[in-house]
């Protein structure tokens, strides 16, 4: 999976889990997530992680659940890409 594909997956998961109705498709790598997107509450964060584990098959460590990982679309996509590599 290349970087664009990973970004595409991340945006689709964000849109699904947060019920954004397509709004995620307007996001860029710089779009702020944690603290900026009201839909991203703790349940949504855990749902996102679960979706990443189940649908992309990556293993998330408990210590990865960190503010830096979920800061922006770009930081989340990089996190996913690093674990898929």
């Amino acid at each position: 999976m290349d970087k664009d594909q990973v970004l595409g997956h991340v945006l689709r998961l964000l849109d699904d889990v947060l019920s954004l109705n397509g709004r995620a498709q307007t996001f860029t790598r710089d779009t702020a997530l944690l603290g900026a997107l009201p839909e991203l509450d703790s349940m949504a964060v855990v749902s996102l992680i679960t979706a990443l584990e189940e649908q992309l098959g990556l293993a998330v460590d408990d210590d990865d659940i960190d503010g830096d990982t979920f800061a922006t679309v770009g930081s989340l996509a990089d996190f996913v890409a690093a674990r898929l590599a």
Binding site: L18, S19, M43, T50, A51, I65, D66, G67
Partner: protein, 271 residues
């Protein structure tokens, strides 16, 4: 028109009660329901998020000639006790209570235990009688279910940077017999340990399993974990049919969402 469900409190041990909703089958099936189902709701907040979907599915199944009983487990919804006081054994007792009530109302019909998410983990046990399973996005491992629930606390503390090492701390509290507070729910050690030990494994005399998952993708397939679990059930002699319907993960989405396709496929699967 299917009438509204009958809402009542079922007496439970210790002078407690459990809220139940009974959906009678459509009039033409009143004498001969196609089946009877006991619905077991998912864990904590997922129960609230899925309330509307469960109600719609119950109604659709009743219209199609099935009898459905919903029970709020101990400490959940409008049943007695606080969530923090509930144990896994309490919930197993509630399943037996629900089964007895369903037998009273519908003596003769094939029995299905219908579990959503962690409800499937509660359903999968040897109940000493023939049981079929209707599984909606079943969780296959209680250990993982507990981990996902505890992660809610990590996610909540993430912004403040206090999430590191928190998982070990939470597990330590539970192991020491103390309750932990997660996302507004007090989780008692007896519920945590029971959930952690639960596995979606075949038990009792083999019957039918209808396994339904949801995905927003059109070309979705079952996850590898689901595939493996289904294989285990088939090896144990169960007749398993699985499918993936298209729709949102309504038990966890930010807004209350519906998956009508899942309901339609469920009615079809049980017809």
């Amino acid at each position: 028109m299917t009438p509204h469900p009958v809402v009542f409190f079922l007496p439970a041990s210790g002078g407690e009660q459990r809220l139940c909703l009974f959906h009678a089958p459509a009039p033409e099936f009143q004498d001969r329901p196609r089946s009877k189902l006991l619905y077991l709701h998912p864990f904590a907040e997922e129960m609230n998020k899925s309330r509307r979907m469960a109600a719609l599915a119950c109604r659709a199944l009743a219209e199609a000639g099935h009898a459905v009983l919903q029970i709020d487990l101990r400490g959940c919804g409008d049943s007695s006790a606080d969530f923090g006081d509930a144990s896994w054994a309490d919930w197993q007792a509630d399943v037996r209570l629900g089964l007895a009530e369903l037998d009273n109302r519908v003596p003769d019909a094939p029995l299905w235990l219908w579990g959503l998410r962690a409800g499937a983990l509660l359903a999968a046990a040897d109940w000493g009688r023939p049981v079929n399973y209707l599984l909606w996005q079943p969780m296959t491992s209680g250990k993982l279910a507990l981990q996902q629930f505890l992660r809610l606390k990590l996610a909540a503390e993430m912004a403040s940077g206090a999430s590191k090492g928190l998982m070990d701390q939470l597990k330590g509290e539970l192991a020491a017999g103390r309750a932990v507070e997660i996302a507004g729910y007090l989780l008692g050690p007896a519920l945590a340990s029971g959930l952690e030990a639960a596995r979606l494994a075949p038990a009792g005399a083999p019957g039918r399993v209808e396994w339904l998952e949801l995905s927003t993708r059109e070309d979705a397939t079952l996850t590898p974990v689901s595939e493996q679990t289904i294989k285990n059930w088939m090896d144990a002699g169960w007749a398993v049919r699985s499918q993936v319907a298209q729709g949102p993960s309504f038990w966890s989405t930010s807004e209350i969402e519906l998956a009508p396709t899942l309901i339609a496929r469920t009615v079809e699967a049980l017809s």
